[in-house]
């Protein structure tokens, strides 16, 4: 379970403090699929970062009693001069898991072949996305934070991502952030709309979607 209690997050800007999240609370249970809708810049990614423990809230608390992934959308953190395999080793070391048994699966999913031994700077953007996703799937979590993961890659890649996340790991919790309501409607059971630093909960996709249309 993730328990978010009265969390506020502000960022300093030149025009003063910008309150991105204002006193929001929510609870994510084990196995629950949560969709978060919001316009660009409404604070979706900030919320994901807070849930993932990447950033700390300015006030309020976030308690995690299950293992939570890092925000999956991000394909960064690749040092250009390191190979795909180096990056896998790094991730495994950070999360304290074995490496050897992960290599074949990452190879298989990323479809990088011998490029796994090449520096990442020689990869195409599609290859980078595949590697990023394969690395995310190499470590098992109870809850996955997914921030617009489907924004890159081709159809085949999307299908494989969907299979890995929504079929193979359908017993896990998922928090899906998107401005594409179709994606969220398909995979989630609980919906939140983020608007003007506030979070509103809906148990029905249509209601959430209608509200989202009005803002």
């Amino acid at each position: 379970m993730i328990f978010v209690d009265n969390v506020t997050k502000r960022y300093k800007t030149r025009a003063g403090n910008n309150t991105v999240l204002d006193n929001i609370s929510l609870q994510i249970n084990k196995g629950e699929k949560v969709g978060i809708l919001g316009r660009n810049g409404s604070g979706k990614s900030t919320l994901i970062r807070l849930l993932g423990g990447v950033e700390k809230p300015d006030s309020g608390t976030i308690t995690r009693s299950m293992s939570v992934s890092w925000p999956l959308a991000f394909s960064g953190a690749f040092q250009g001069s390191l190979t795909g395999l180096d990056n896998l080793r790094f991730i495994c070391r950070i999360y304290g898991t074995g490496i050897v048994d992960k290599i074949p699966r990452v190879k298989e999913f990323s479809e990088l072949g011998t490029y796994l031994h090449e520096p990442v700077k020689n990869y195409s953007s599609g290859m980078k996305a595949r590697l990023a996703f394969a690395l995310s799937m190499a470590i098992e979590f109870d809850c996955y934070l997914i921030d617009e993961v489907m924004a890159v890659g081709d159809r085949r890649f999307h299908d494989r991502c969907r299979y890995e996340l929504h079929e193979k790991r359908k017993d896990r919790s998922m928090i899906l952030v998107s401005h594409n309501p179709k994606e969220i409607r398909k995979h989630c059971t609980v919906f939140y709309v983020l608007n003007q630093s506030r979070l509103r909960r809906f148990d029905d996709a249509d209601k959430a979607y209608n509200y989202y249309q009005t803002i």
Binding site: K56, A77, Q79, S81, D86, F90, R93, I94
Partner: protein, 259 residues
């Protein structure tokens, strides 16, 4: 409570270890010139200084090569660690996406690697010049080790201070270069404190860097000249900078914008 502390400690150890391996690969990489450079640069400097001094200061009572080798490589210990820590965060920014990776860990890995490299380079050069017969073996190894330890501590603490400040204020980044040159020139790379007039000695000894160099030189060939250093004074600086560095780092960690 002690258990959760031990758990955190083991996580941190693991993360710093992983970052270290990553740093080694990116810095010294698979084309090994970076690794070689660690030894070549102080070696060239030592040789150039030796060449100049052999002409100009002929008849000097202290051995020139020993003097050079106990200067530049020692100053490199703090200089390298600071200059690397200045740019520690931005290229590794995205790593902070992994909850376990903290700003401190990124700094720690960089500083550890830099200091280890510089110290290894010093010992390698000392051994190389010893085997080639250009210098005599040291008088007191313990003093040398202690001097290096204090200098390394100074370097690590200063790296935390400058690194965290540079992350927030671009001007610190710019000013470091002249400031480090000043520290470098006054750190005894080119002179012994004993050569200076007493009034200059008094002021130069306010600077922390010179104490480490004098201590190392005392260990290496202190019999041949009068050394001036104060271990307590340098330790005080180190402790002060460590506390300041940790406090600034905490601030910097909060303000880092994660891309």
């Amino acid at each position: 409570m002690i258990n959760s502390f031990l758990h955190s400690l083991s996580v941190q150890q693991r993360v710093i270890g992983a970052l270290l391996r990553r740093e080694i690969l990116t810095r010294y990489g698979r084309n090994n010139i970076g690794f070689l450079w660690l030894f070549v640069e102080p070696m060239i400097f030592t040789m150039v200084l030796t060449a100049i001094w052999s002409v100009r200061r002929a008849g000097l009572e202290i051995p020139v090569v020993t003097f050079a080798i106990t200067g530049y490589p020692i100053a490199m210990i703090w200089r390298n660690s600071v200059s690397r820590s200045k740019s520690a965060i931005s290229p590794n920014n995205a790593l902070l996406y992994h909850r376990n990776v903290k700003v401190f860990d990124i700094f720690a890995a960089r500083i550890l690697l830099e200091i280890t490299g510089s110290v290894a380079s010093f010992f390698f050069l000392v051994m190389l010049f010893n085997f080639s017969g250009m210098i005599q073996p040291p008088e007191d190894l313990l003093k040398i080790l202690f001097g290096i330890l204090l200098t390394a501590w100074f370097g690590a603490a200063l790296a935390l201070v400058i690194g965290s400040l540079a992350e927030r204020f671009e001007v610190v980044n710019r000013l470091w270069s002249p400031f480090s040159f000043f520290l470098f020139v006054t750190s005894g790379v080119f002179f012994l404190v004993d050569w200076l007039p007493p009034i200059a000695q008094k002021y130069i000894l306010w600077l922390p860097t010179i104490h480490g160099v004098e201590l190392v030189r005392d260990g290496y060939f202190g019999r041949l000249f009068n050394t001036h250093y104060n271990i307590a004074y340098l330790s005080f600086w180190n402790m002060f900078l460590s506390l300041l560095g940790l406090a600034l780092l905490r601030q910097a960690g909060r303000n880092v914008e994660i891309s």
